[in-house]
């Protein structure tokens, strides 16, 4: 009787090990061919089989992880390649101006400083453009752990609207708000998030330059976990082969000197730092539309514990 209890306990210990993915224990065998021994054999082989399967799974997971890492790495290199090509193109314009004008000044040594004042002003402007490019790249490349806190839903978009109020007014653009009377707080860094709305609103206002009754609409809706900010304009919209490419650095529809093509990629980085998302919504014949999703403060705190 005691013997059977021991055997049962050994079987249970083995099965318990399997249940906990720890495979140190096996049931002792008597090799007498009785039912206890058959049971021990079956339990032990099950444990062996599960252990082997788990090991295979682990190996395959590691291989998959390596393949994924490689993919991410090559995607990163491709993005870096595109970034470099864009930087080179941007830098080339002011560089041409500096190269050409310094050469001209040297070719006319009899001229006085006053004679070349205009040339110098152009060179200074070209240098300023180079600084703007350098700043944009620095801002793009920065990976930040933003300090966030519970922030009123309207703080960032209203801050951006205030900063751009004069620009919008000068261009005759109406900014309308479609916002429920009460909204939960979001988990955000208001300074960073304001930049996202500055970029979206400036893009929209640039797109509205030649539009009749130019209007930008900001609407906010709350879902269970996040707030969705929709920024929409009634401009010509953006035609793209793939909607996500709009967020790639140096993708721009603007003419040289009007934009670096970094605004939306910076916006995307900030939103991702907030554990949120940004998406270009393509609405045929309805202007450009962006959805920015930011976690609600109550949900964000639950997640981080």
């Amino acid at each position: 009787m005691t013997d059977n209890v021991d055997r049962l306990e050994a079987l249970m210990a083995t099965l318990l090990g399997v249940a906990n993915a720890s495979f140190d224990t096996r049931a002792p065998r008597t090799y007498e061919g009785d039912e206890w021994d058959v049971l021990a054999f079956l339990v032990n082989s099950t444990a062996d089989e599960v252990q082997n399967l788990l090991q295979d799974l682990e190996t395959e997971r590691e291989e998959l992880k390596t393949a994924q890492d490689r993919l991410v790495q090559s995607e990163r290199l491709a993005a870096l390649g595109r970034l470099s090509a864009g930087v080179a193109h941007e830098i080339n314009q002011p560089l041409t101006v500096i190269t050409g004008l310094t050469d001209l000044i040297r070719l006319e040594p009899d001229k006085t400083i006053a004679d070349v004042e205009e040339d110098l002003a152009l060179i200074a402007e070209a240098c300023r453009q180079l600084c703007v490019i350098a700043d944009s790249i620095r801002s793009y490349g920065r990976t930040s752990q933003v300090a966030t806190s519970a922030t009123p839903a309207l703080a960032a978009p209203e801050g951006a609207a205030q900063l751009l109020a004069t620009v919008l007014q000068d261009r005759g653009i109406a900014l309308t708000w479609d916002v429920p009377s009460s909204l939960p707080d979001i988990e955000a860094n208001v300074d960073e998030l304001r930049q996202v709305f500055i970029n979206l609103l400036s893009n929209a206002s640039d797109a509205l330059a030649t539009v009749k009754d130019p209007t930008i609409t900001v609407s906010i809706t709350a879902t269970a976990g996040e707030l969705v900010y929709r920024v929409r304009d009634n401009g010509p919209g953006v035609e793209l082969e793939s909607p996500s490419s709009i967020f790639e650095p140096f993708v721009t529809t603007k003419s040289a000197g009007e934009g670096t093509g970094l605004g939306l990629s910076i916006a995307q980085r900030i939103v991702v730092d907030h554990h949120g998302s940004i998406e270009y919504i393509s609405l045929p014949d309805q202007g450009a539309c962006f959805d920015v999703r930011i976690p609600r403060a109550d949900c964000a705190r639950e997640r981080t514990g």
Partner: protein, 119 residues
Amino acid sequence: MSGECVLVVEDDELVGSLLLRICKWLEFDAVLTADGSAGIAALGTDDFQLVITDLKMPGASGIEVARHAQTLDPAPAVIVVTGFSTPEEDDEIARAGAALLRKPFDARTARSVIEAALQ
């Protein structure tokens, strides 16, 4: 070589100013238009001996400007200015009878390309 009528087509204001400045140095009369379609429109209004155009611009590309210039009688010489162009674009520029000036360039390089184009 002086007094020639030059049309500059360039959407970057600074590079446009540089090209005008180079024309002034060479004692040309130069006019600036800020995009490709305005450039093509200007070609119809005046007799230009030379067109200096950017490659990538809103409205119409430098290649389209060059092609349009080719249809005129007398056809002005065309120089396409670009920092980056694909081999296919280089071919198209050549087929449109235009010369290529690569950015960044100094004043002397610009002068020699312009002189060669006006030959």
